[in-house]
């Protein structure tokens, strides 16, 4: 597979995205996370990075990251569904595999930007609230990176669904209905490790109050749930897109 043509398709995708409101969504969740970060108070104790990370990542990891994975996928397919974009795109000299993967790369790149912005907001908040030095870089970076990794299968599933359904709302409804159970499952030691939609939250939340695990997801859960579902969803999506009648 020649990479040149793949990056050209990506460049084309970037242009399609650039004039849309997708950027507002990228800022949304990190901006909202500022709120709990600014308001969290622990009586008499000084503000720690761990505290900031855990309060700021709750809504972000539990709700916004999984939901955004779906919204980005739906948006990236929407302008193809709307006015014959698939026909236009797929009658150009491109392979369906490259088109599909370029869309996937766009989604996970957007999620990557979201995570970077989250990190910036977290660092800013720590600086403003004078959190105890030094900055625990490895913990923060693993949290942000782990959250991103845990989103990869969700993005793959949502892309698979969004390319197949021309409706914009249906994939989002599916996504939200799979995300809502997070609220219950996040606290369940039995089901938590195996539910893909709760993995971003688990990956981002520091384990325990004092000592943090280096990587917040237990390795077997990461391997089985995240990697396994990523492969299943990505391959299934590619298979259906390959056979899609346009």
């Amino acid at each position: 597979m020649s990479m040149g043509s793949f990056w050209r398709i990506c460049a084309s995708e970037r242009l399609k995205m650039s004039k849309s409101y997708i950027w507002l969504l990228v800022i949304l969740s990190p901006a909202i996370a500022i709120l709990p970060g600014a308001l969290s108070i622990r009586d008499g104790e000084e503000v720690t990075w761990g505290l900031l990370l855990s309060v700021m990542s709750v809504v972000h990891g539990l709700l916004f990251l999984p939901v955004l994975s779906g919204i980005f996928a739906a948006l990236i397919c929407r302008y193809e569904h709307q006015d014959g974009g698939w026909k236009l795109l797929l009658s150009l000299p491109v392979t369906r595999m490259k088109v599909y993967l370029s869309k996937y790369v766009m989604i996970i790149a957007l999620l990557g930007v979201v995570q970077l912005l989250f990190l910036v907001c977290l660092l800013g908040m720590g600086w403003i609230r004078d959190a105890a030095a030094p900055v625990p870089w490895s913990i923060l970076l693993f949290s942000v990176f782990g959250g991103w990794i845990a989103c990869l299968p969700l993005a793959a599933l949502q892309l698979a669904v969004s390319q197949g359904w021309s409706s914009f709302g249906a994939p989002l409804a599916l996504n939200v209905s799979l995300t809502i159970p997070n609220i219950l499952i996040a606290n369940s030691a039995t089901y938590g490790p195996y539910y893909p939609w709760v993995q971003p939250s688990l990956a981002m939340t520091p384990n325990g109050q004092d000592g943090f695990g280096a990587f917040n997801l237990p390795l077997d859960s990461l391997m089985i749930v995240v990697l396994g579902s990523l492969i299943v969803f990505l391959v299934a999506g590619l298979f259906f897109f390959w056979r899609k009648a346009v």
Partner: protein, 314 residues
Amino acid sequence: MLNTEVKNMKDMKNTVIETKDLWKKYRGRAAVENLNLNISKGEIYGFLGPNGAGKTTTIRMLLGLITPTSGSIEIFGQDLRKNKLQILRKIGSLVESPSYYGHLSAVDNLEVIRRILDVSKSRIPEVLDIVSLTGEEKRPVKGFSLGMKQRLGIAAALLGSPELLILDEPTNGLDPSGIQEIRSLIKRLPLEQGITVLVSSHLLSEIEQMADTVGIIRQGQLIYQDTITNLQQQAAGEMRLHVSDPIVALNLAGHCGYDGALREDKLIFSRMNDARVALLVKELVENGHSVYRVEEHRQSLEDFFLQVIGGGEA
């Protein structure tokens, strides 16, 4: 019908599109049935048929957007299944309603395609100029009229300097001046740039004014494929002779070199000049036939088309 002639034409020129026994079935129902298209280099091929006859389905197969149920497609002498990318690189297309990204301007729409085709940036103003959209290129396309979107679609199809242009109902929904504009644009392309054009329409008048060769499709079957000149000749009209003993008379006429047919007890001949009519009548009378009536029946191309589409003979 005139398959041998078509075959000879094909051998003389270079074939750009050739489909063999092409089928597309949806749940057992055939949308395209045993289709054998033959399109030569540098010609405008008019693909004619009523709505729902299978034109768009065929075009989608030619572009690899859907896979045929059976049969083969060769474009530029290569198998579409094996060399899809090389083939598509040389095709510009516009399928059904115009495709575009509404939130982007005309220039950005073309840029999206240009980045994939990897052609020079200077092609964008060039193709905008060809379809006369210069001056409108910065507005979001969602505000364009249908005609402008259609023209943008043609500009997009031309962007990669294709050797083959496939335009599906390019004048659909346009006003008369827009139709005129697109028609003259399509007619110019083979002359100026040597492009082969496949243009579909459900209107005979459209095809008649543009195409060199016409293929008529009905209920998924190609029921007529020949040059537009031959089509016009066939539709030109016929002579009808009402005589006393038609069967014997037909035989006699055949011996004298008049190829005719019998319909409703009348002898039917293709149109001929006055001298030949006179000679035929003379032969008949001299051999003891009574000639009651000699009629010239003129048929418009439209009638002919409707007759073919109506499926009397297919």
